[in-house]
Symmetry: C2
Subunit: 735 residues, 2 copies
């Protein structure tokens, strides 16, 4: 058991390393040569095309203004300065709401920490159970529930506190859900005309011997939505050849082999003509557009055909959010895919240790010597042997954990979701379950997930919370260390962007020829909801579980949320590229997972107290999860529809507004090319590029201000984002 002194030492080390990261970041970010690594967002928005430095050649690479070094932490207040509405305008609602997850953490845990320290710490501390027992203990344990004697009346404090914390958490959750719901509705309402507001994705168009898919779609919607149907776009399946040709073409363009290019261009055109005319490439799905938002809202929310597996309609995702490969999966296939993935995920979660243990058993010194005998003399050397024995067994697990998010993403893709945001949400759910079982439970009850599962199957249901609950106070110091290493240092490492920094400079040195190349080398990354959110949820879980048991954990969690909020606000403002806009569609998931954490914490407290001869508390503690579930159901009914459906009242209001403002807009033209497979679009781009380059005859290395469309986010083309950037932090660096 660690003492407070141990924890203080560990905390100091982690604070120092986090501080070192921040200092390194502060120095690196003001070097003009790193500008594209630390401020790519502004480049992508087209608001910045070169470092804001001018003057001597050296100034292009190194910042010699020593004043700026003194203000090395001023990015923190700068990150806080942009107000939320402007942040939404700048980085999208998704990012702004993502930041609110951290804020929610602060709102929940700051008051809980204050109450816990004023009420529960004295109650726990003023006992001497541990001193009279034979157990080894530290001062940290004296602060926890372990210090209360069995059957003590003081447990009522903990029960009352469990109620207080539950009500407070629910109150914060309800207010957040309310705020975010109205933010979402307002965002959707206040936005400019967007193709997805008028468009519905239709899947599972039935085959027809007499009509083509396009005709069939047109006739169906002409008949069934006569007053509202406007137009539609059939989905084309690009062939492999076409795909390859495009890619080759992209490569050759770099080297300027224009003869080959011309030849391939013709090939592409011919191939495209074939696709357009070939019924086999037409997928049984379409984007159907309506004259009004009302018509689209109606079509998306209703069932079209007698057979509910045909003519499936749903809101079209944003054009850049569409995941094209999954648009044409038949209904039966979807059911089977879900089953397969459910089974696969079960085995992944509970049995992933088996192959890794197998690899570990192979990757020892004797195993290598047997397989590759000629390596024997090298391996037998003491240093290398030590390295192999100490390092190799762990590396299989590390590699697996690094690839886990990608594996989960692949699973979601196989499952057949039609938008990138849905893919990320599903992956996040799976990642959370994996972390819950293998990190949270795995750390509390040591042993692999499969051993746990086996234990749980052979235990009675009311033994499980006891087993886990009893171990919880003992693991407080472990989780404190975990929060400092994974949370504090992890967040500080995030802002340094060491990997993108190195890769950018390498690419810049070896590959980059044109401005477009440089733009591609920039790699701003994105928010990464599928890995980021489950990690935050782990902190919610730890905070709620330990709030009553060992409140000493709470300050560490509060610091994590505060630090992460500032860092990610800075990153969202200056770095991350917005890949899509789902208008905060992920909030019901976030809310649901915090509720799960709350219920887990209540059940574990119930289990813990039932081992402490405080069984008269059981009825009070069993009421808590029932109330929490009821609260969750209320929220589901009250707020969730705003994230799934689109109220007709709002659609109608927006329609009327549009009609009075711009009565003569040609919606059909506007929607014609909104949903086109990126392959075909890319072809267009290349053609345009070629033409413009031929015309302008620019030398390849001169930087141009024209942005390649491939990396420019959609919003900069359609939404009129503000052209001034008063909150951009580097303004004050100009000489």
């Amino acid at each position: 058991m660690a003492t407070i002194a141990d924890i203080s030492v560990a905390a100091s080390i982690n604070i120092l390393s986090a501080f070192a990261f921040f200092v390194a970041f502060a120095v690196l970010r003001i070097q003009p040569i790193n500008d594209r690594v630390y401020f790519p967002k502004w480049y992508l928005k087209g608001l910045r095309s070169s470092p804001l430095q001018s003057g001597a050649f050296v100034h292009k690479f190194v910042n010699l203004d020593f004043h700026s070094y003194l203000r090395f932490l001023n990015w923190m207040p700068a990150a806080m300065r942009m107000p939320e509405p402007e942040l939404i305008d700048h980085a999208g609602l998704d990012s702004a709401v993502y930041l609110r997850i951290y804020l929610t953490g602060l709102k929940i845990f700051v008051p809980i920490a204050v109450i816990a320290f004023t009420v529960m710490v004295p109650v726990n501390w003023t006992n001497s159970t541990l001193e009279h027992s034979n157990l080894t203990f530290s001062n940290i344990d004296k602060l926890s529930i372990s210090n209360i004697p069995h059957g003590s009346k003081r447990f009522w404090t903990h029960i009352v506190m469990a109620y207080v914390f539950t009500f407070w958490t629910c109150y914060v959750l309800k207010r957040e859900y309310e705020t975010i719901t109205s933010m979402r509705l307002q965002f959707i309402a206040s936005e400019h005309r967007r193709p997805d507001q008028f468009t519905v994705l239709v899947r599972n168009v039935p085959p027809d011997p007499d009509e083509s898919v396009s005709e069939l779609v047109e006739h169906f919607f002409m008949v069934n939505h006569p007053d509202h149907y406007l137009t539609h776009q059939v989905l084309l399946q690009p062939t492999l050849i076409y795909d390859e040709v495009s890619i080759n073409y992209g490569k050759t363009l770099v080297f300027g082999l224009s003869n080959l290019v011309n030849y391939l261009l013709k090939l592409i055109a011919a191939e495209r003509l074939k696709i357009d005319n070939n019924a086999k490439h037409i997928m049984p799905a379409a984007f159907v557009s309506f004259k009004t938002r009302w018509g689209a809202a109606v079509c998306a929310q209703t069932q079209q055909s007698r057979n509910p597996t045909l003519w499936l309609t749903e809101w079209a995702p944003e054009p850049r959010d569409v995941y094209w490969n999954n648009l044409a999966i038949p209904y039966v296939s979807l059911t089977i895919r879900r089953l397969v993935i459910a089974v696969a995920f079960f085995f992944l979660t509970f049995c992933f240790m088996i192959p890794i243990a197998f690899v570990q058993s192979l990757a020892n010194v004797e195993g290598i010597e047997k397989a590759l005998p000629f390596l024997k003399p090298i391996i037998e050397k003491k240093v290398i042997k030590g390295f192999i024995q100490g390092f190799l067994p762990g590396i299989a697990l590390k590699i697996f954990l690094i690839f886990l998010p990608s594996i989960l993403m692949l699973m979601s893709k196989f499952e057949g979701f039609s938008s990138i945001s849905a893919l990320e949400r599903r992956s996040a759910t799976r990642y959370y379950i994996f972390q819950f079982i293998n990190v949270f439970l795995g750390s509390i009850i040591t042993g692999t997930a499969f051993q746990q599962l086996n234990n749980f199957i052979h235990q009675s249901p009311n033994e499980i919370p006891k087993t886990i609950g009893v171990s919880i106070p003992m693991k407080a110091t472990f989780f404190i260390t975990y929060i400092m290493v994974d949370g504090w240092a992890g967040v500080a490492g995030e802002i340094l962007r060491l990997r993108p920094l190195i890769i950018y400079h390498l690419k810049n040195f070896f590959v980059v020829k044109t401005e477009t190349d440089r733009e591609e080398a920039m790699n701003p990354g994105s928010l990464g909801f599928n890995t980021g959110e489950p990690q935050i949820q782990l902190y919610f879980l730890l905070g709620l579980v330990y709030a009553v048991v060992s409140p000493i954990l709470l300050p560490f969690i509060v610091i994590f949320f505060g630090l992460a909020y500032i860092v990610y606000r800075h990153q969202i403002m200056n770095v991350y590229n917005q890949e899509y806009e789902s208008a905060a569609a992920f909030w019901p998931d976030v809310h649901g997972r915090i509720i799960i954490a709350l219920i887990v914490s209540q059940l574990l407290l119930l289990g813990l107290l039932s081992t402490k001869d405080a069984s008269q508390s059981t009825p009070f503690l069993i009421t808590l999860p029932v109330l929490t579930i009821c609260f969750d159901r209320y929220c589901k009914g009250r707020y969730e529809p705003a994230f799934v459906r689109y109220p007709l009242q709002q659609a109608m209001m927006k329609d009327i507004l549009d009609r009075t403002r711009e009565p003569n807009v040609n919606l059909k033209d506007y929607l014609r090319s909104a949903y086109i497979h990126p392959v075909f679009k890319a072809g267009d781009d290349y053609e345009n590029n070629l033409v413009s380059e031929d015309e302008e005859q620019e030398p390849a290395l001169v930087p141009t201000k024209r942005q390649s469309r491939r990396t420019t986010p959609f919003s900069s083309k359609y939404s009129g984002s503000s052209q001034s950037f008063p909150y951009e932090v580097d303004q004050n660096l100009q000489p």
Copy 2:
């Protein structure tokens, strides 16, 4: 353990008693005096106004045609003769589909019984495990899985059979679901114009300081459904006084006190005027009607307002299906009511024995003597003492079980469902859960539900199927007796209608003055989905659980399904009044419960086999429930929407058809008075009654052919039911 001879004796007794019921029925039904008891359906439909006998006075009461006594079982083929489409026309889709539940039972269990007897009985019989053991056993046990030695390879037969039975059950279920889905859609499509096709129930209209509810509703739908809104009806809350006056008025009418009647009529009119003008009586809900079915379908399926708890829309139930008292419950109250009822039902299911045991402990001889000492001399008599000791303890339980369906119905009403069909469906679900826990599990593991719950909490999850599974083969004879008593004799008793028969003749003798009274005395009863369906489900459960374990049970179940099918077909044709038409909305529940029975049977087999040293079978058996759940999810996606939503394609087709057929129909007039609270309607009826009786001046006792509207089902007013009745069984009784 009962031997085959014991079972045969019990079977003979039950067959004889069932036969006695049938003979009694055959004799009673052809007496003209009982005509209204055994053929009320035809009276209600207006196709029969007096017994089909003519001639001497005696002939009016007793059937003297002795030929008809010889053909005393010919109601059975007669019941089968009406084809299904005509049955739907005659008794509604609900009844026809209800009969299909029995047919489904036959389709599932006849082939299963055949296979089980040809394959599994020989496999079980040709062992001598039981003979070599010390256990007492009978020949029945030799037919069961108990006769297979531990660890035998013969268990593979049972595993393969479990697969075969599962696939067969799923196949039948899928085909039934498919058939019933298309029956439902066709029924809705082929029907004549009905008010509920054009009408949507709007609840939770928000309060507005400036506008009345009626104006608010009109404006809201004028704005948000401008092309489709037609009219609306605001709901009025009848006051208590008005209600009472109506009832008193109804009573006084019977005695013909016309002065009082006139006075009360004026009172009613005044009260009604008050209600119409008083905003307090207007409920925040309305029936909104649209110009087209398309418009109504759109409104019912979409969200109207930004706040998803306001302006809630759903399909209006049929006018006679509306449960008026629940139309104005606010959203938050609904959430709380559901929580309260969930908790109450939990305690009802698991703790209902506690108050009953308390009553039982009071209701013994000593208790009565203490409370009422003057009864001592009577009670001390031996006969009475024996009666009290033998009978009283059981009577508390019996009374509780008789009132259970009403208690469950009250619970559903409190929960706030807005249609009678939904109330019955929810009550059926609860009744099924109660029976599953207290009859099925309670018979297998003797002990109260609360003791079971306690056991299960303290057992590990994989012990539970073992505990139950092991006891299952031993309970086969008990359940055989149960099927014969509750199933066979119960069904035969149903057709005799002893209670309505006695009550009818008592009423006829003492109360009946007018033809209307006689009609009210008739009491045809109705199908009673809330009690009938859960009972059938118990037989599905028993059949599926015992199919692999003790196939001897199967013939008894097959006979039950066959007998019940014929009896209920007869009753539906001749007796039951159709209270509402939900177009088979209950089928998803029926399907779901058979799936549950299937999964329970698979888990119990898994538990049973794991105690038989056949653990290598576990992976094969655990796959079965996974596949079954997957099948269920497929069915949910594929068929359930037809029971929840209304496809726009179909609505549009029907609209176009209507428009071409009857272009000039005045829909507004047609819908104006479709949804009026029955209290106000009843007032109208009485007024009409009064006027017409004044005009016609008929003597009170002369039978009139005019039907009182109170008991006439809705369909006979609106749907043009066929006026010929070739399948009516009593045609051949005419001389």
